[in-house]
Amino acid sequence: MAETIAAPVSNPVSERSPPAGRKQVDSALLNNRLVQVGAGIILILTLLAIAAPTLTRIGVLHEPIHQDTNGLDADGMPRPPSAHYLLGTDNLGRDVLSRVVYGARVSLTIGTAAMLTATLIGVTVGLVAGFYGGKLDLGLMRFTDMNLSLPAILLAIAFAGLMDGKVVHLHPAWLHWSFLDIRLQRGMVSVFLIIGFVCWPGMVRVIRGQVLSIRERDFVQAARALGASDARLISRHILPNVLPTVIVLAAMNTANTIMLEAGLGYLGIGVPPPAPTWGGMIADGQPYFIAAPLIVIAPGLAIVITVLAFNLLGQGLQEALDPKHHP
């Protein structure tokens, strides 16, 4: 089989010895401009998302789902930007700026939860396939390939139909997410599960490739000779060595999950209205594009900035953790 590279994420472990000291890695991380910019934007977005209800309470932001009686002009068209509505109103007379800000809550929550789901599945499959090899490896990799051969959005659409309204009762009682103070709509959990179930295959190949090479290295062989169990070998010796890669992949995967959430929202099968989702705002604003372009432009820019931040972070992390490729 021509199994070469699966993704341009290179291998920070196998060829580098001795491993860089912790201090070195830390300073490489902090000094990387891409990490600084990416993490900075994400921090600002997160703070804004958390502060949104407070900003509404003190009167800085409008209610995102409040249809203002003055929000539409005499012809029933959206209002242009003004001192009262900084980015104008949408087709239902709601403040665009506050919907964009509240949209960050939906986007970041779903993006992160979906990324965690995808990472959990992807890393588990990759570890098991790479560690045990043989028929199990073959079966798992074929299953992964099968998932890779379907466009993620198409698979997500199929899942979206399947899960509508059913899945809420499935999630364990301790997983409440209410501490994020977002009204948990029926769609929220199902959307992040859908995206998580669709986004994991991309991680498997890279993780598996690394496990294959780490498995053969001396310290693992030594631990095995000393009688370490499989569980111990995986959790104590292999997992810590693939962790840098996992972190890079997770950052880049968050960019994907947020993009997919926007895509599902755009197609009308994301978190249901009136919750403000960026994709949904773009879809709803399209008929008014020529009269009020900001309804479409503003949420689009929000998606671009958020996804860009996670991609920059991923790129920077990769450079910092893998200096070989980037002198």
Binding site: S149, L150, P151, G300, V304, L308
Partner: protein
Amino acid sequence: MLAHFLTRLFWSALTLLATAVLVFFLVNAVPGDVARVIAGPKASPAVLQQIRKRYHLNDPVIVRLGYYLLQLAHGDLGHSFVTDQPVAQALLTRLPVTAALSAMAVVLWMLIAMPLGVLTAKYAGSWIDRGALVAATLSLSLPAFWLARMLQYSLAYKLGWFPVAGFHGFVSLLLPGITLALLFIGYYSRLIHTNMVEVLDSPFVRAARAKGASEAAVLFKHALPNALIPVVTILGMDVASLLGGVLFTENVFALPGIGKLAVQSVFNLDVPMIMGTVLLSATAVVTINLVVDLLYRWIDPRIKQAC
């Protein structure tokens, strides 16, 4: 070589079969009364009963899966629930648009990504390289549907350089093709960059330089073809995500392709059509990967020993 090809063929067929089964279960678990979708909201119970019988809707899912696979084995993809058109026919009339659009996008982005990747590899670490990296990351971060709308508004509606929407021959594919290319240039220019940096460091490049080859010859004749070898594999694996982009682009520009058909049939709950579009894209991905795998052995004879 032949044994390898047959093994690959076997796995490809099995992948398609498993995909068919998986998607069948997904699609058939969708809530909603299919018989009502077909007959319309005012149909009498007798008509509904008749339709349920005709499409085996009263049977358990497993039995229906059997019927469906049997039908597939005869090369029949079934009929649309909504228009009663044969699914295969609907797919075939829309395939050329999607294929032309995808092919144009690939050619376009490779034409731009290759010189960009070579240039940034030669000046790796310089401000050109860093700037290109940020630009590439930006291109990775653009939502397809939004970029399509923006370009449609600015270049087609405002400036009138392209048709705004609909399909009137090749011209209508230009702007959608550019949209798709913009989404992928970033990733591919970095991919080529990374491979080029590695290749430029290898002995044969030093040898070429030592014998006095011009810099252009070293970069484009000696190094680039070698840097492109792994890119071919990635291209094959990216067909699925390209189709995802095509889905949005076709819908924004109202192009009569597979992507528009897929979205339409999902909203119509047109089960045979959904199955058809999914199977077609899976077949495209699997076939292209098979071809890439064979091509790969032909391009790079060193791989023959492996496996």
